[in-house]
């Protein structure tokens, strides 16, 4: 019966998953997004190996995910919902109301921040949204702490009947450390629903009462946080008042702790760690402030704790201009900020550990940027190439996913938020139509993003008679975030089969009259279809034309995507036009300066052969296996 403990070198997201299971979480919903995507799969993996009951679902978007998890919590089960920080914007409608209504079982919302940003459209700080929604938030500094915090968050949520947020930053999610755990006993709860319309369907009159109740909860949680020494507190104080103290949370806390220890100055500059920035444990901070002449606040990404400190004259941070308002607080930036603060209070500066000369050299060298690029063989490259060819003068609205990299092919002009390829295309169409102009507009959106938030925009566009071409880039997977399934295939988060909802049925259901499905590897056929689509858009009785460019992702489905790998070669007849490099931008095609022509890197080449259709000079040829002869491509 007894199994010994287990140790694994877990990703921060794995540590969060482990903490959720240890807290008895039975339901997890999520929409993938860097840096949050691995939490749900890790929870499923660990639950399987521990024999724990766990329902997981990839919801179609974050708002849907939060509603699903919230309902599970209303039944008394413990539930969690995971997303990236911009996903919380989508789920905010649900969160704001859920805070008023409260829960029965614990509900933890995990919203992962991306200071940098490394893989997001904003650097927004989830803690600000927690404050706006009046929901408590935990801010872990490392994977192990994230695991402990998620357990405590679940307890607090259930005790006070309030959703609680865990806000790990990317350096927690994508850090790894060894974690040890004992067997987790299953503690399944049965779903129950107690009718209570004044709570679960509260009208404005009852909402006022719920708001008052929420404010009372926050007051009591603040008091609890002030005694939560496991996550909040400072080392025993030095005698008297020190010239400089630091209040820090999250990853910046871990960085500054290392830095002070390396320099042997941890006694000289005390640090108050706050792991629960909201509701802010003010009494702890006030006591710390009274022992310091100045306090430097290090937090990511915005000023949150800083604004809760009442004696602003003593506080240095973003408002005082000491800490930058944008960008990740990487170790060297924290070292610069700390060094300045030390000098300003008259303490010794930090020992300079790096050579400024080397950095000047780096600036002079101007090393080449390596912009992210679509993979060799990516069907999106073929689709974008065809779009540029068919309608070179169009406005290209696009969306969030790998295909944002269509930028490199000159086929992406806008990228606002999830679903905006369609809604911005609508807006452009109406703005030009008002002036009597029919501008060609081509919107591109991925399959997963279309399911996430494309349908409302498409319905709206059809209803309001907007005119544009929509190309749904259907690679049958959520590729950018690590190959999660989409509703189109019907495979679910746990690998079981659900009911597939084909894209074409959804598109037709939105009232679209022109729908074609084309394989983007066939560039001439896609170009022809795009032109037909544009003709339809232009007809007085026309409307929106939708083309599904369907070809499996080369990373997710290597065999299906390229069943017969082609061996390719560039002949001496290459005229150095560089179209294959600059316009087609395949990473496997390089310019060989010595030979004076383009060349194919056989290690990088995926063998899709799409470039055969691209070379205007027919200098790219397939190397035939049998005779080793080269046959020019016909086509």
């Amino acid at each position: 019966m007894s199994r010994s403990s287990r140790t694994e070198f877990l990703l921060g997201n794995g540590a969060i998953a482990l903490g959720l299971l240890e807290a008895g979480c039975q339901v997890i919903s999520s929409y993938p997004g860097t840096p949050s995507s691995e939490i749900l799969p890790e929870a499923h993996r660990i639950a399987e190996s521990e024999g724990l009951p766990l329902y997981v679902e990839w919801s179609v978007n974050e708002k849907v995910a939060l509603d699903v998890a919230f309902a599970a919590a209303v039944t008394g089960k413990r539930a969690a919902c995971c997303m990236k920080q911009v996903g919380l914007n989508v789920a905010l409608d649900s969160l704001m109301s859920a805070a008023y209504m409260g829960t029965v079982g614990g509900l933890v919302v995990i919203s992962c921040d991306d200071p940098g940003p490394h893989s997001s459209q904003t650097e927004q700080d989830t803690r600000l949204l927690a404050r706006a929604a009046k929901v408590p938030v935990f801010d872990p500094s490392c994977p192990e702490e994230a695991r402990e915090m998620v357990r405590t968050a679940m307890e607090i949520s259930e005790e006070f009947r309030i959703p609680v947020i865990l806000r790990p930053a990317i350096r927690v999610c994508h850090a790894r450390q060894d974690l040890c755990w004992d067997p987790i006993p299953p503690r399944p709860r049965r779903a129950e629903f107690q009718r209570n319309p004044t709570r679960w369907a509260a009208t404005p009159r009852f909402r006022l009462k719920l708001h008052e109740e929420l404010n009372g909860k926050l007051k009591r949680i603040e008091e609890r946080f002030a005694t939560l020494y496991r996550f909040n507190g400072s080392d025993p104080a030095a005698e008297g008042v020190v010239p400089l103290g630091i209040i820090a949370g999250g990853v910046p806390f871990a960085v500054v702790k290392d830095l002070l220890e390396e320099e042997g100055r941890e006694k000289e500059v005390p640090v108050l760690k706050i792991g629960t920035p909201y509701p802010f444990p003010e009494s702890l901070a006030e006591e710390f402030l009274s022992r310091c002449e100045k306090v430097l606040v290090l937090e990511e990404t915005d000023a949150v704790m800083e604004v809760f400190l009442r004696d602003r004259r003593k506080v240095w941070g973003r408002l005082s201009g000491h800490v930058p308002w944008e960008g990740e607080l990487i170790p060297q930036r924290i070292a610069e900020v700390l060094d300045r603060a030390l000098r300003d209070v008259g303490l010794d500066p930090l020992e300079a550990s790096s050579d400024p000369e080397v950095f000047h050299l780096m600036e002079r060298l101007q090393l080449p940027v390596r912009r992210p690029t679509l993979c060799p063989g990516c069907p999106h490259r073929a689709a974008f190439y065809a779009i540029r060819k068919a309608l070179p003068k169009a406005i290209f609205t696009s969306d969030i996913g790998c295909y944002t990299l269509g930028l490199n092919l000159g086929a992406v002009d806008t990228c606002l938020d999830m679903g905006a390829a369609i809604t911005m295309a609508s807006g452009f169409s109406q703005a030009f139509a008002q002036d009597g102009e029919l501008r060609p507009i081509v919107a591109t959106i991925g399959d997963s993003t279309f399911y996430h938030s494309g349908t409302a925009g498409l319905l709206n566009a059809v209803y309001n008679d907007a005119r544009f071409l929509l190309v749904i880039l259907d690679n049958q997977v959520t590729a950018m975030t690590g190959m999660q399934p989409t509703p189109g295939l019907g495979v679910r988060a746990d690998g079981s089969l659900g009911k597939a909802v084909p894209l074409e049925r959804v598109v037709e259901g939105c009232g679209v009259q022109f729908l074609r499905i084309v394989d983007p590897y066939e560039i001439p056929s896609l170009v022809r279809t795009l032109k037909e689509g544009w003709d339809y858009v232009r007809e007085p009785q026309g409307g929106i034309a939708v083309i599904i460019a369907r070809h499996p992702c080369v990373l997710a489905y290597r065999e299906e995507a390229i069943p017969q790998k082609k061996r390719l070669k560039i002949l001496e007849t290459c005229k150095e036009c560089r179209l294959c490099i600059e316009r087609f931008e395949c990473p496997a095609i390089l310019f060989d300066e010595e030979a004076g022509r383009a060349a194919i890197d056989p290690v990088l080449c995926a063998g899709c052969g799409v470039c055969l259709q691209v070379c205007p000079n027919k200098s790219i040829v397939e190397v035939k296996e049998e005779a080793g002869q080269e046959a020019p491509h016909k086509g």
Binding site: A175, Q177, P372
Partner: protein, 202 residues
């Protein structure tokens, strides 16, 4: 190179998306973990993985708080690409060493004339860092019969500077590579390990 056992060891592994930086950093972390150290590691996912600049920080010691290596604290910079090695030398500690593959991956932007590739990357490394180890890893891998052995060869070189048990390295490498390629990878690892002091180093 030797550090007191309580000190934090910092290894920065860098390269270009798709070169296997993350797997190499996982192997090193596992070796350090099994050798009894507290290990923290940081990596990149998402947009940054699509052909861009990739780096992974590995830190181990008796206690490590942050997964990020501060500037000027890198003990070993393991680079899978030459220009990427140059990009990160400002992170080296005064006694830090560079191990770099001589492979050059010139990004497309260079051929458009909008950026340049440092032709003298090797001499920059020789001039600006102490005793860099430059390895013809690709050539060696091809000689061993598989271009994908580059990572294992480079880990072998690094293993000589990192003072973690040889046996643990061998065990972790054999566990983390496909079964069919186990012997080949171990041979590649040993070949890399033998490089420091032999003639393929300049």
């Amino acid at each position: 190179m030797a550090k007191a056992s309580w000190e934090v060891n910092n290894v920065l592994i860098v390269g270009v998306g798709g070169q296997g930086v993350i797997l190499a950093s996982e192997i090193l972390s596992e070796v350090a973990m099994r050798s009894g150290f507290d290990v923290k590691k940081s990596e990149v996912h998402g947009m940054a993985q699509r052909g861009g600049i990739v780096s992974s920080h590995v830190r181990y010691g008796s206690e490590v708080a942050s997964p990020l290596i501060p500037q000027g604290e890198v003990d070993v910079l393991l680079a899978f690409e030459l220009a990427e090695a140059v990009r990160w030398i400002g992170f080296l500690s005064p006694k830090g060493r560079v191990i770099a593959s001589r492979q050059r991956l010139v990004p497309p932007i260079v051929s458009t004339g909008l950026a340049s590739y440092p032709e003298d990357a090797e001499s920059i490394l020789q001039r600006e860092t102490w005793a860099p180890v430059l390895v013809d890893a690709q050539q060696l891998a091809n000689q061993l019969g598989n271009p994908r052995l580059v990572n294992t060869i480079l880990l072998g070189v690094a293993s000589r500077l990192l003072e973690l048990p040889h046996r643990t390295w061998r065990r972790v490498v054999s566990e983390r590579v496909p079964k069919a390629y186990r012997e080949l990878n171990l041979a590649a690892f040993e070949q890399g390990r033998g490089i420091l002091g032999s003639s393929s180093v300049s």
